[in-house]
């Protein structure tokens, strides 16, 4: 787009858009069917893997990240990094102090102990 006096603006071809769309649909089908098989603790990880695959597709192609300035990608990934940091610490700590909690404590609920 010369109007933009720049070379980088990327225009996704219809073909690309449709291919990604099919991939996403397939991914959805895959997640659902994967959830019906019992893989024990693996289920969640398989599911997350597929979901992340879908997310990456959307980010790279629909959001043009693949052709975008790397810094924009860095910003986006940075957000996830700090989120994982938060999740990590919170899960670690809560897991460690679980034994101190009174099991099922919820006196405010009907029939709560």
């Amino acid at each position: 787009m010369n109007e933009h006096g720049d070379s980088f603006v990327h225009i996704a071809s219809v073909k690309l858009l449709l291919v990604v769309w099919i991939a996403l649909m397939f991914g959805t089908w895959l997640t659902v069917s994967a959830s019906t098989v019992d893989l024990g603790f693996l289920n969640i990880w398989v599911g997350l893997a597929i979901a992340t695959g879908k997310a990456v597709l959307v980010a790279l192609y629909y959001m043009h990240l693949r052709w975008d300035k790397p810094f924009n990608a860095l910003v986006f990934l940075g957000a996830f990094f700090f989120l994982f940091l938060f999740i990590g610490f919170a899960m670690m700590d809560t897991a460690h102090y679980q034994p101190d909690l009174i099991p099922g404590y919820s006196p405010g609920m009907v029939g709560g102990s």
Binding site: L85, D93, H96, G104, M109, G112
Partner: protein, 567 residues
């Protein structure tokens, strides 16, 4: 604006010193202010709004200190006192100190330092100011309908069960959060996309590095405050049982949520102060800043490390021992870059030619007070001593030495430094020095006593106290009144300077950053030329011009862009 470039190159920008058209009189009427997109006017409006909040918070503080003159009731009931310290905290933090420096001085100075005409997203800038007003009015509503008595930390389950106006206050803080996010976002974009010719990342004034690091935190941490407060509102309104143990929730999890934002927020408060310090020390020592890259990188380091230490607010909360250990270790890591900054500032003064003008007096008190504030952090970061000191007046004293002795003092320094640029008037140096002295003395008397009280076991947020603490409390209260006197004097001479103050030259201090290359007050469009940046601390490039009463460039063309912009 090509057609406007008629002025002879060389005295461009400065040649109109004293010419009438500037951003202050460019448009008339209240609306031309309230709906302006001009970063300078938005900065000034923020300055007014934020100083008013500071005044309000200060009034609460004085009432608190007066109440504590004697144990038991002095001038108010326990419930009033509890609301009072909550409001003092909430107003000072959410309304004053977090937006504080970036929204006022940042807004005004940042684009000027970049030689730019405005921030990258002026509408967003105005929006964030309006968000601030909205958030503030929510807070005011809450105060009117009976205030809040939870403490500014809104700990559950107290905040979910108390009968006071928690929801409006939390919504207020929620909205103020977004105001802060947009300011930070705007500054990041501006610094990335609008640096002038010649301004590489490592030729940016350190003020910009500080503001940039601050913006990173504002953008990454504040959303978590948003969701935390939203959950708190939901907890009160619907009872979602995430934080309320009565419904199966976990109050300690709330503290994780809260401090994930509120610790980095501490650096949202102090980083801009350090940013100002670098400018002041260099300018008033008449010397190039020492260890530029270390100061710059330490700002980024502080910004990133600040996300790794929140757990040190929870050593006694029931947080697991392992987590305590990790957070204690990480906490110390953040002490290093701060120390590095202080040493570099000291080194900058070496062999300088130091002027003890008001801004420099504040810079010196900053070094003194921030040293105490920072060092006492060591007592609180280390586990076994923190168990004893946590939630005592020792903590109160510590964060006041950092927040007030650090941020507020540097803020005052910055205001005195850029006042001539902002309003085009000089203030009375003599009175300025007096109030600086009073503030310094009053502050130390108020808060040093609180260290001693605290280590003796006086818990914070206490309406009533044991007899043995009376002398400390009274000394502290006396100090607070000296402090207040200092501020009254300041208000006096600053307001006076607006009307009677002598006209300020374009560059009264002899600083080399670009904001001094335009008139005081700046023209509506900031600069008549596209600017070119050189070394922002090369003070030798300037000489004193008696006829102007200020400094001028030996080679004015050195700051003009070699190529005209696209326009």
């Amino acid at each position: 604006m090509a057609e406007e470039i008629s002025a002879p190159v060389g005295v461009a920008n400065v040649d109109h010193a004293g010419s009438d058209d500037n951003y202050l009189n460019h448009g008339k009427g209240i609306l031309s202010w309230l709906f302006t997109l001009d970063h300078k006017r938005i900065g000034v409006m923020y300055l007014v709004a934020i100083l008013s909040s500071f005044f309000l918070g200060g009034v609460f503080a004085m009432l608190l200190r007066s109440e504590l003159w004697t144990a038991g009731q002095t001038i108010m009931t326990a419930d009033t006192y509890n609301k009072m310290f909550t409001l003092h905290g909430a107003v000072m933090i959410f309304l004053f100190i977090i937006p504080g420096i970036p929204a006022t001085l940042g807004n005004f100075v940042l684009p000027l330092m970049l030689g730019a005409k405005d921030v990258a997203l002026p509408r967003l800038n105005l929006a964030s100011f309006w968000l601030w007003l909205t958030g503030a009015s929510f807070a005011v509503v809450s105060i009117i309908v009976g205030a809040v008595d939870t403490g500014w930390t809104f700990y559950t389950p107290y905040s979910t069960t108390t009968g006071t106006a928690v929801i409006s206050m939390t919504l207020g803080a929620f909205i103020l959060g977004f105001s802060s996010i947009f300011t930070g976002l705007n500054f990041i974009v501006t610094i990335h996309k609008m640096r002038p010719e010649g301004m590489t990342w490592f030729r940016m004034p350190l003020f910009l590095w500080g503001i940039y690091s601050t913006a990173i935190i504002q953008v990454l941490a504040t959303p978590v405050l948003g969701i935390t407060l939203l959950l708190l509102v939901a907890e009160r309104a619907l009872g979602v049982g995430i934080f309320d143990p009565a419904l199966g929730g976990d109050p300690v999890l709330y503290q994780h949520f809260f401090w994930f934002y509120s610790h980095p927020a501490v650096y949202i408060m102090i980083l801009p102060a350090m940013a100002i310090m670098s400018e002041l020390i260099s300018t008033f020592s008449g010397k190039h800043i020492f260890g530029y890259r270390f100061i710059a990188w330490s700002s980024i380091a502080i910004a990133l490390l600040s996300f790794l230490v929140w757990g040190h607010h929870m050593f006694t909360s029931g947080q697991s021992g392992l987590t305590n250990m990790i957070f204690s270790a990480l906490t110390f890591s953040v002490a290093i870059p701060s120390a590095v900054k202080v040493f570099n500032w000291l080194a900058t003064m070496y062999k300088g030619s130091i002027r003890l003008a008001a801004p420099m007096l504040y810079a010196l008190s900053f070094l003194f007070l921030f040293a105490i504030g920072g060092l006492t952090g060591l007592f609180l970061g280390s586990l076994s001593t923190d168990i004893h000191l946590h939630d005592t007046y020792f903590v109160v004293a510590h964060f006041h030495y950092v927040m007030f002795g650090g941020t507020v003092i540097a803020f005052l320094g910055g205001i005195h430094y850029w006042w001539p640029k902002i309003f085009g008037r000089m203030y009375s140096e003599r009175w300025a020095q007096l109030s600086a002295l009073l503030i310094f003395v009053g502050f130390n008397l108020t808060f040093f006593t609180q260290f001693v009280m605290g280590s003796h076991g006086m818990p914070r947020r206490y309406y009533n106290y044991l007899e043995q603490f009376t002398p400390y409390h009274q000394a502290s209260t006396v100090g607070s009144f000296i402090l207040a006197l200092g501020f009254l004097i300041m208000a006096g001479y600053l307001l006076h300077s607006l009307v009677r103050g002598e006209k300020a030259p374009a560059n009264p201090w002899g600083a080399a950053t670009l904001e001094w290359e335009t008139t005081s007050p700046p023209a509506y469009y900031n600069f008549k030329h596209d600017m070119r940046a050189g070394d922002p601390y090369d003070l030798d490039a300037l000489r004193f011009e008696p006829s102007l009463g200020g400094y001028v460039r030996r080679d004015p063309s050195s700051v003009l862009a070699t190529t005209e912009g696209v326009e």
